[in-house]
């Protein structure tokens, strides 16, 4: 796509959109959002970059091959499912813990967040496989 405006704008938009996708991902636990839509937004941002700067440049921006993203996403999901087995709870039971940090206050995190991170990675990976293969046809 040969649009100077989009080409210039996407350089500034890309980090913003990626930040927004992380925001959506984290927001998802209690409010609308989550790994799926966060992943979609992230891959949408990278897709825009790929359309303006070419798939090869976009691959460099992502650094990780999409296939690895899919694999590691599934791994995160699997780990979050299997982890409770080691403390004698059924598969996929949510394990929660609270961490006190400087600056951010108390953080309530657990295995569902890890599961969601897995979803985020798989969605981004799958969408990028589509986008890159279509652009490279």
């Amino acid at each position: 796509m040969d649009s100077v405006i989009l080409k210039t704008a996407i350089r500034f938009l890309l980090p913003l959109l990626l930040l927004a996708s992380v925001f959506l991902f984290l927001r998802g636990h209690n409010e609308p959002g989550g790994g799926f839509v966060g992943g979609l937004l992230a891959s949408g941002a990278i897709a825009l970059y790929a359309m303006t700067h070419g798939a090869a440049a976009a691959r460099q921006v992502v650094r990780v091959p999409p296939r690895i993203l899919i694999g590691s996403g599934l791994l995160f999901a699997l780990v979050s499912g299997v982890a409770p087995l080691f403390v004698g709870r059924p598969f996929l039971t949510g394990l929660w813990t609270t961490i006190t940090t400087e600056g951010l206050g108390k953080l309530h995190i657990g295995t569902p967040l890890l599961f969601d991170l897995g979803v985020y990675c798989v969605v981004t990976g799958v969408t990028l496989v589509f986008v890159f293969s279509l652009l490279e046809e």
Binding site: I68, G71, L74, L78, G81, P84, F86, G88, L92, G94
Partner: protein, 518 residues
């Protein structure tokens, strides 16, 4: 970790293997190694599960610690654990076989991760105790099978895949619609809870409609008459390792779901549902075997025989006596082993001659005596010649039929058996007995392959053939296991109590009872 954690292993292990495979997709040797190791682990975990279920009875796992019927329940009873064990055995045989038969380009395109994904779907479908979850596992399995079917992108593969995908999507749509209706009617999708609610469901018409919707959905997947046409149109096109695992497992997931639905859920109107099933069983047997007689290619003949044998499995379910159901279970055990093996052998034949057409091949009895022996054992077992596994499976079904005084289906089963023998003899005569054509393209003599390559091709076929013989010799223990499975299937209360230890929850919505009283 407790015993219940084992229930999740047949689902979690393929997923873990798939993750490892995805992360090492670029290296063909790593793919092969991880694929085989993963399949071996799955087989071991399935064996452990079967042993635990045999010792402790029905194992139930409430995923996420949400109590049934609110969460997703995984249930391993005898039938489930036997099916998972067979799935593990087949994927082990096929992944060893694939080392020498699937080319490197298919491997680096993701053959092994897809096989693991398929297995995750199959094992999930066998273990779930929730109807919607069953739908999800069906989809997991189907998506993997769509890709496996087209992997390599040959012209005839795509042609077969279009029919396969279309019909399977239609059946999924019917399945989903049925789930919607049953949820609207009863307010639950947990199978044990459903079984309780359907027992006292006031509106018999709704239950009949529901049972027919599920019959169409599962019947299409199981390839029963008249919904089987997608199967012979597609199973001969993909690589042999793929069609072998399809032949062994995919239709059996449909049969398993039929058994689950018509022993647990829809047992209130046996007069209607099970008589219809019996009719379908008879027609499936006969049309399948007649279709096979008209074919002239090894894998096409075998595909039609799958259809015909689905009929036998449905027959036992339709008769609905302990003995007949035990026959069904025995038949499934026998069929999965033998059918997969026949496809694997057909694959070796096709590799030698670059075709499976019977008029182009021959002389294998002389040039490949081991293959001939293995084929002979499996084919005779399929036809039901004593003392092989097929004989005892058919004997049990026919005794079940005689006991229930359903003579028509018994006659059909016997005639179809004879025709199966005819069909198997045809392959034997053409491929093995008659001398090879002089102009036949007898390429790739296995002698030129490496020793390891030959071991990978022949090892699994010899293993499966010896299991066939083993089931025949050890028919007593297998029969006992089948009888125990049948009795457990007919004892719905045991299943319900295992899933819902605190008794039923909620009541049938009042709306539907008002409707009937009007």
């Amino acid at each position: 970790m407790n015993a219940q954690a084992v229930v999740i292993l047949p689902i979690a292990l393929p997923l873990a293997t798939m993750v490892m495979l995805l992360l090492s997709l670029k290296s063909v040797p790593a793919q092969k190694l991880i694929g085989v190791v993963g399949s071996t682990l799955l087989l071991l975990s399935a064996a452990t599960l079967a042993w635990l279920v045999d010792r402790d009875g029905i194992l139930v796992l409430q995923a996420g610690n949400w109590p049934a019927p609110f969460g997703i329940t995984l249930v391993a009873d005898r039938l489930s654990s036997i099916m998972v064990l067979l799935a593990g055995l087949m994927v082990f045989a096929v992944s060893v076989y694939s080392l020498a038969s699937v080319n490197d380009s298919r491997v680096s395109f993701g053959f092994h991760p897809l096989i693991q994904l398929l297995l995750m779907g199959v094992c999930g479908a066998f273990l779930t105790g929730d109807l919607f979850n069953l739908y999800v596992w069906f989809e997991v399995m189907l998506i993997a099978s769509f890709v496996l079917l087209t992997l390599g992108g040959e012209r005839r593969q795509l042609e077969g895949a279009i029919k396969y995908v279309t019909l399977n999507l239609i059946s999924s749509a019917v399945f989903l619609a049925a789930i919607g209706v049953i949820y609207a009617a009863t307010g639950t999708l947990n199978m044990a809870d459903l079984a309780l609610k359907l027992r006292s469901f006031p509106d018999e018409g709704t239950v009949s409609v529901l049972s027919m919707l599920f019959l169409i959905a599962f019947g299409t997947k199981a390839a029963v008459f008249p919904l089987f046409f997608w199967l012979p149109a597609s199973y001969h096109t993909p690589p042999v390792a793929v069609s072998a695992i399809f032949a062994g497992l995919l239709t059996k997931v449909g049969v398993y779901s039929l058994i689950r639905a018509f022993t647990l859920l829809f047992v209130t109107d046996l007069e209607f549902t099970h008589n219809l099933l019996l009719l379908i069983a008879g027609l499936t047997m006969v049309t399948g075997v007649l279709g096979a007689m008209a074919q002239n290619e090894v894998r096409r003949i075998l595909s039609f025989h799958i259809v015909s044998q689905i009929g036998y499995m449905v027959m036992g379910l339709a008769l609905f006596t302990p003995l007949a159901l035990a026959g069904t279970v025995f038949y499934i055990i026998h069929h999965i082993v033998v059918k997969t093996n026949l496809f694997l052998i057909g694959g070796v034949v096709e590799q030698r001659f670059r075709t499976g057409r019977l008029d182009r091949i021959g002389g294998l009895y002389r040039s490949a005596p081991v293959l001939a022996t293995v084929f002979f054992l499996s084919a005779m077992s399929l036809a039901g010649i004593p003392p092989l596994s097929g004989f005892f499976a058919k004997l049990t079904l026919i005794r079940g039929g005689l006991e229930a005084e359903r003579y028509a289906i018994v006659v059909a089963a016997l005639v179809v058996s004879l025709l199966t023998l005819f069909s198997m003899t045809k392959i034997w005569n053409e491929a093995f007995w008659k001398p090879a054509r002089e102009d036949a393209v007898t390429n790739v003599s296995p002698r030129r392959r490496s020793r390891i390559g030959r071991a990978c091709l022949y090892g699994p076929t010899i293993l499966l053939a010896s299991i066939t013989v083993g089931i025949g010799v050890m028919a007593g223990p297998v029969m006992n296991a089948s009888m125990a499975t049948a009795e457990q299937l007919l004892d719905q209360n045991a299943y319900i109590n295992a899933v819902l230890p605190d008794g039923p929850t909620g009541q049938v919505p009042a709306v539907s009872s008002e409707r009937t009283s009007q």
